[in-house]
Symmetry: C2
Subunit: 173 residues, 2 copies
DNA sequence: TTCTGAATAGTCGGTATTGACTATTCGATT
DNA sequence: AATCGAATAGTCAATACCGACTATTCAGAA
């Protein structure tokens, strides 16, 4: 498993014991800007971490609900978490831009159509930025992620505007 | 397969017939900023596109070299390519920041250590920016990708400097 | 000419990831 | 008290993906 996903699960469990569903909910709600982790993948990875002895699972029932597996960090897991954390903080992990692939082939379409399509993209981007700016403030480091997202989207918007602008001045042929 | 990878392969074959190895070489050399596509994955996806009738493969030998599969777009593939291209250009695909996961759990380490680790990250980031700025200019839309990468890395560097700076002023406790 | 290292051109077994599905419970509504 | 939709808590078969490996050719050194 990639180190980011591993760090993510261990990190959340280090803050608080949780069961799989809860873990996935939290990630979807508050961390969608850094990872996309499907529910079934989360369960798969939790199983694997348990087999590696980094976390322990125990049954628990609440009210009439069917029993569920609650996970907690082992001492080995705690140590491993700290190592991954150090490694993550010290490394620059390049972000990928899947939207650039289209740009790379844009010459296959007539200029006015490219312009119209990029205007649509611009709107979507501006909306994402507005949504990020609307996010209510969070505590501690989650706030950091929101601010990062906003700074990034602002830079993206400025860049896209530059691209759209230059599109008009392109000499045909 | 994700639409980006599909668009990428069809797009390259639309510009020029190629064989698998060549395709992968090009992607590694010139498009590492938008995708990470392993060689074996490229072959797997080419097989799949062929099965879907979007590309055709034919044997070809050059000199004494063993024969190899050369791929070309079918008319269906060309049409599909244009649709994917329109969709890609019109959509904002959010980038992910795996480096943010560490930041989210930074409070697990003492402040001076976080500071030291982030300085290391900053160096790596600055180096990546310098490398991007050193890239010799390219023709057409590939130049666009390089400029995007530079703009992005500049924004990342400014943001990281802000984070490191605020770290010093944080009141402990 | 024989060896060695780099470039070319892939294949294959195993791991990671996910979409689609199951099943239970709860609260509200009829 | 029966029904319906949303929330909870997962499972599983199928796909996607990749690391490590194989095999050939070529250029240059010994």
């Amino acid at each position: 498993m990639s180190m980011e996903r591993e760090l993510l699960l261990l990190g959340l469990l280090q803050q608080q014991d949780m069961h799989g569903y809860q873990l996935h909910e939290f990630i979807e709600r508050y961390m969608q800007s850094c990872v996309d982790l499907k529910k079934s993948t989360a369960y798969y990875l939790l199983d694997k971490l348990a087999k590696e002895g980094l976390i322990l699972s125990s049954e628990e029932r609440e009210g009439n609900r069917p029993p569920r597996q609650v996970y907690k960090l082992t001492p080995a897991g705690q140590a491993h978490f700290l190592n991954l954390l150090r490694q993550n903080l010290a490394t620059h992990l390049p972000a990928r831009f899947p939207g650039d692939i289209g740009l790379a082939f844009a010459d296959s379409l007539p200029l006015p159509e490219i312009h119209a399509l990029l205007q649509t993209r611009r709107s979507a981007l501006a909306e994402a930025l507005a949504a990020a700016e609307q996010t209510p403030p969070h505590t501690g480091s989650l706030q950091l992620l929101i601010e990062h997202q906003i700074a990034h989207l602002q830079s993206e918007l400025a860049w896209l505007d530059g691209v759209i602008d230059r599109l008009g001045h392109t000499k045909p042929g």
